[in-house]
């Protein structure tokens, strides 16, 4: 199972390359607010969810597609980790 640090890095790299091209990676921290600060708008959030589902083989429920669950890299990693623990091993 991936460690939280690895999940965080994978998600961070996706967000940087997809939505923040050319940005200094050091600026995007585990706690940078993504949705509330307008860095990810609603369409970017949908793309993020598709990425998370495909990359980590999880399902994100409609009620989890919001600021409470996805506003920081930390929150996103925690969500992914929680779902991977629940999923049966392959």
């Amino acid at each position: 199972m991936a460690q939280e640090g690895q999940v965080l890095d994978v998600v961070k790299n996706f967000i940087l390359s997809e939505f923040l091209p050319g940005e200094d990676p050091g600026r995007l921290t585990a706690t940078t607010p993504l949705m509330s600060d307008g860095i990810l708008d609603s369409i970017a959030t949908l793309k993020l969810i598709v990425f998370l589902e495909e990359q980590f083989d999880i399902e994100v429920e409609a009620h989890e597609a919001d600021e409470e669950h996805l506003n920081t890299l930390h929150a996103i990693s925690a969500l992914v980790q929680a779902k991977r623990k629940v999923a049966p091993t392959g």
Binding site: G22, E23, L28, I39, S42, A65
Partner: protein, 518 residues
């Protein structure tokens, strides 16, 4: 006929029918809505609101907001809704600009708003409500006050049909939003056209997807109320989620859907529409921007049963052209559908830059006149004058700023804009307003914003920046900065950094050269 008389009639004809339903479960009948809005009217009058005044509100989409709208109208005032998601600075500007006499605001927004209003020297009477949902918070706020002052309010002389009913603020090219003034006659003439075009009945269930500061809400609210139908409110968050919306259309048995194309495009891609049977859905109406034909084809394939209408018209006229989409859409169609013929209650003319009507079939600017056309912008006499043109005989026409062509079949086809306004998610965005925002950033020396059509984004907004240091700036920092001044949908999709912006021979920013960069 005045807008709130639709509610008076509905409360008499259909008192027990559900008027408004919230996705969370709260609902209110026509009788209850009439009574709650009467009480708000009385409170507003006691707070000093007089016919002709403006009443602002900052309330999330809810029964409380709908009751506030009708309470303001009944007090003879024009309502001024602000975007619940916009920054306090923008909302404060709007409410101060139109000098609202009173304001109904959710507690969570109150402090920040009062601060902004004070900075503009505005001190309206404020009715704060604890929250929004079910009408309960509004009821409680009215209860609280009524306990201290049970005297009945003075009688209100009804406004005439040419008095303002609402002022809707849209993006302004100079950086400040401008208020479109709309009278009871403007709205009622449009609602009467809707009645002929769509034949609503009390069995209809209208979606309320558009926020109340967007003129799509006029069709939603007043068509529902006029015909005793149900208005199904969709909150700000749910309104962005394609899966939730698709489920809602099925669960709430929506019969009439009306929204900008972009959310429908998302629903066809992410909403799993084939899984949700919506046999009740009889009309899908869309307006506000071009509907990319690939997504429209996909939508019609997934939901083949409803009738589809493309509705076109700026806030200044509400819907002025309409086109029923013949379905199924032929697979080989590669062009967006036309905007259609001018609505029967209006007249249109297509003019050249000199103001002369063009030959039939030639390109020109679409101009509209008739009972649903605005008198102008709040407190902007010059901009208001410039928005109208005389073309031939009779009253002046409103210039839409849209270039169209009349097809041989009489339907108008949209060609493009005359100026620098685009649509993002159906909302008007003046590229100049985004530039004005970025010019306030201390690190930015020069900025020019362009927009190009984009398959997935609709319009891709690109900010070209030259910083004071000559260095690249942090995207995170820029986006966060923008979010403090403009709504999220106006934040540029792409930022690129230049040592200096290219100029034309007359030393103006060379927008063509920038647009060519994509």
């Amino acid at each position: 006929m005045l807008l709130h008389q639709y509610l008076d009639n509905a409360a008499r004809n259909w008192p027990e029918r559900v008027a408004v339903q919230e996705a969370g479960g709260g609902s209110i009948t026509y009788h209850e809505l009439a009574e709650l809005s009467d009480r708000l009217r009385d409170r507003l009058v006691r707070l000093g609101v007089r016919p002709g005044d403006r009443v602002g509100f900052w309330i999330r989409k809810s029964i409380d907001a709908v009751a506030t709208i009708f309470g303001a109208l009944k007090a003879g005032a024009a309502y001024v809704p602000v975007d619940p998601g916009a920054p306090p600075a923008r909302n404060g500007y709007i409410l101060a600009d139109c000098a609202v006499a009173a304001l109904v605001v959710e507690q969570r927004f109150e402090q920040a708003l009062r601060k902004q209003l004070a900075e503009h020297g505005a001190h309206p009477a404020v009715l704060a409500i604890g929250g929004s949902g079910g009408g309960a918070h509004l009821r409680a706020a009215l209860e609280e006050v009524n306990r201290h002052d049970p005297a009945p309010a003075a009688q209100v002389a009804p406004p005439g049909p040419d008095q303002l009913a609402y002022v809707l603020y849209t993006s302004g090219s100079t950086g400040k939003p401008k208020g479109v003034m709309l009278t009871h006659r403007n709205a009622v003439s449009f609602v009467e056209w809707c009645a002929q075009a769509f034949a609503p009945t009390p069995e209809d269930r209208f979606s309320s997807h558009a926020p109340f500061h967007f003129d799509l809400s006029i069709l939603d609210i007043y068509s529902a109320v006029k015909h005793g139908a149900a208005l199904i409110l969709i909150g700000e968050e749910a309104g962005k989620s394609p899966q939730q919306l698709a489920q809602l259309v099925a669960d709430a048995r929506i019969t009439v859907w009306y929204s900008a194309p972009s959310i429908l495009s998302l629903m066809t891609q992410f909403g799993e529409l084939e899984r949700r049977a919506c046999p009740g859905l009889r009309l899908v109406l869309f307006a506000g921007e071009v509907f990319p034909i690939t997504h429209l084809k996909s939508l019609v394939r997934q939901w083949p049963h409803p009738r589809y209408f493309n509705l076109y018209g700026p806030t200044e006229t509400n819907v002025c052209n309409f086109y029923e989409v013949p379905t199924p859409i032929p697979a080989e169609r590669a062009e967006p559908v036309p905007i259609g013929k001018v609505c029967s209650h209006l007249e249109g003319v297509v003019i050249d830059p000199a103001g002369k009507p063009v030959a039939r079939g030639a390109e020109g600017e679409l101009c509209i006149r008739g009972p649903s056309v605005t008198q102008g912008y709040w407190n902007l006499p010059e901009q208001s004058r410039n928005a109208f043109v005389s073309a031939g005989t009779g009253p002046v026409y409103y210039r839409t700023g849209d270039i169209v062509v009349e097809q041989p079949d009489g339907e108008f086809r949209y060609v493009g804009r005359r100026d620098r306004m685009i649509k993002k998610r159906g909302f008007r965005v003046e590229l100049g307003e985004i530039e004005a925002c970025l010019y306030r950033h201390p690190e930015i020396r020069e900025v020019a914003v362009t927009a190009v059509a984009d398959e997935s984004l609709g319009m891709k907004v690109h900010a070209h920046v030259a910083s004071r240091s000559g260095e690249k700036l942090s995207l995170i920092d820029l986006k966060r900065f923008c979010g403090q001044h403009i709504p999220v949908y106006m934040i540029p999709d792409v930022f690129s950094f230049h040592a200096a912006l290219p100029k034309t021979s007359t030393d103006k920013v060379d927008y063509q050269a920038l647009k060519a960069l994509g």
